[in-house]
């Protein structure tokens, strides 16, 4: 069963060291992802997207406000909230084979269940298209395949909420589309709650039910847009849909307006 994850008036301030002033990463953000929803958050690099997700994952605390998971405030990493990092290569365990990487989240289980869990992990690898790569090491795989390993490992952790931190931005354009399609298939099968942060407007529209647009610094929430495009989505037809183009126009204009304002006020 997937979970509801919300940001309730969240403000994050990084304390300046020495003469540096305190840095307000974002101010008073309220946003919620419903159970099994695919929510995207778009904003330019450096606007605090990763920080937002790290708070959702319980890796860092908000300065004010709270992150709420199914009614309970998040303090430390809650079970079932899994983070998919942009730097997949740094997130994989280099000393472990592919299958042992995927096994990592379930290794605390009783010994008697190991065999069954291993078979399950092999199945996750099959689902992400890595049949036959079980015994390879991460450095023997391409970037796209490494991110697939990370995705399979996330599946093994039985995600209720999957946090996606620009997970496809470090691979080439074609691989990116393949991984997006894969992610949608897995999401439709498992129905976890997904929160994607990205600077890629098209990616946000293609994947999400709703797109939240982050506004000017200190970053705040500018608008939340219902995508409403039919599912299952297709890399060709969905992206050519006039509604897709209209959304892209609207959101891109919104983000550019933010930048103009930023320059004018600087």
């Amino acid at each position: 069963m997937s979970q509801r994850l919300g940001f309730d008036r969240v403000t994050k301030v990084f304390e300046g060291s020495g003469n540096d002033a305190d840095f307000v990463a974002f101010d008073d953000i309220t946003l919620e992802a419903a159970p099994s929803e695919f929510l995207a958050v778009v904003g330019p690099s450096g606007c605090g997207k990763s920080t937002l997700l790290r708070m959702a994952a319980g890796l860092t605390d908000p300065t004010r406000g709270k992150v709420v998971l199914d009614g309970k405030p998040v303090r430390e990493p809650p079970p079932g909230v899994i983070y998919l990092f942009q730097q997949y290569a740094k997130s994989l365990f280099a000393w472990r084979t592919v299958i042992d990487n995927v096994m990592f989240p379930v290794e605390g289980a009783p010994r008697a269940r190991r065999g069954e869990l291993r078979a399950q992990c092999r199945d996750y690898l099959r689902q992400v298209g890595l049949d036959g790569f079980e015994d390879k090491y991460p450095w023997q795989l391409s970037g796209g395949m490494q991110q697939r390993v990370a995705i399979a490992r996330a599946l093994a952790a039985d995600p209720q909420v999957l946090l996606l931190d620009e997970p496809f931005s470090a691979v080439d354009a074609l691989t990116r589309m393949e991984l997006q399609t894969l992610m949608l298939q897995l999401w439709e099968r498992r129905k976890f709650t997904a929160i994607l942060v990205t600077h890629d407007v098209e990616e946000a529209i293609f994947l999400a039910d709703r797109v939240a647009v982050l506004g000017a610094r200190p970053t705040s929430l500018k608008e939340v847009i219902d995508v409403g495009l039919p599912r299952p989505r297709d890399q060709l037809t969905t992206r050519e849909d006039p509604r897709f183009l209209k959304l892209r126009h609207h959101i891109t204009a919104s983000l550019l307006a933010r930048n103009d304002g930023h320059v004018a006020s600087a």
Partner: protein
């Protein structure tokens, strides 16, 4: 002497080993140079370029080395040196790895213990031998302690900097899977640091032998270090050089064994 220097050194070793015929060529050149130098030595002594009782021809030294082997005493001396070196090395490895990991991950312990370690670290090993004799006597306890002390620092420093250099993404990945602290240290931090630890262990491998010999020379009754001093007093340079030869061979062999083990234990080294 950072972890990175060590890594670079190992990677260089690896590529030369992998490069097949080319690598063989390079090693052949090395042996050729060695042969030329030894021939010069032989010649310089026989032709009377250097006239000294302490400069026997190489052939005499080899003869002495073979005789030593037959007598067995050199092997006994080597064994007792290696035993001390090994015990000290193992103790230093355990202490260096555990302290390196724990201090790098725990701020309170780091603030408490790091200053102490930084004060002891720059002391030259030979300088602490005389005062330590007062506490530990001149027997094995002293020598093993000295070996452990000297070996500790490269292992500790490499481990410590290795842990500090772990990418935060890796730690946070483990945290989101709700990994306990103990499991985090044992299953993530330790293996992630292994390449750096290996670099420290490699430095310590040659160091432990050097220090064991040194301590035997200063306060010895057995071992290669003692043997060297003894043959020197006995005016037997051929035996002395032969013992040095054994020592060099032992050091070389230890390093080769270490590299072979490392290639097996840390196959992902320099690959991520």
């Amino acid at each position: 002497m950072s972890a990175m220097d060590g890594l670079a050194g190992v990677r260089e070793k690896r590529s030369s080993r992998r490069s097949g015929p080319n690598g063989m060529d390079r090693r052949a050149y090395g042996f050729l140079l060695l042969a030329v130098l030894l021939s010069f030595w032989e010649l310089s002594s026989r032709a009377g370029w250097i006239v000294s009782a302490y400069w026997p021809p190489v052939s005499h030294i080899f003869a002495a080395a073979i005789a030593q082997l037959a007598g067995g005493e050199i092997l006994l001396a080597l064994a007792s040196t290696l035993r001390r070196a090994a015990i000290g090395y193992i103790a230093a490895s355990v202490a260096g790895i555990v302290l390196g990991i724990v201090l790098a991950r725990n701020r309170v312990l780091r603030y408490g213990l790091l200053p102490l370690i930084e004060i002891v670290r720059p002391m030259p090993t030979p300088a602490v031998i005389p005062p330590l004799i007062l506490f530990l006597g001149v027997d094995d306890a002293l020598k093993i302690f000295i070996v452990a002390l000297a070996s500790f620092f490269p292992i500790f420093s490499n481990t410590f900097t290795g842990v500090a250099a772990i990418d935060d993404t890796l730690i946070q990945t483990a945290r989101t899977f709700r990994t306990s602290t103990v499991r985090l240290l044992a299953r993530v931090v330790f293996p992630a640091t292994l390449p750096a630890i290996a670099a420290g262990l490699r430095t310590a491998t040659s160091l432990c032998l050097v220090v064991a010999v040194l301590s035997e020379m200063i306060a010895g009754s057995s071992g290669i270090g003692y043997y060297l001093v003894e043959t020197q007093y006995a005016m037997r340079p051929d035996l002395m050089y032969a013992a040095v030869l054994y020592l060099a061979a032992t050091g070389y062999a230890l390093n080769r064994i270490f590299l072979a083990l490392e290639a097996r234990m840390v196959p992902w080294m320099g690959r991520s």
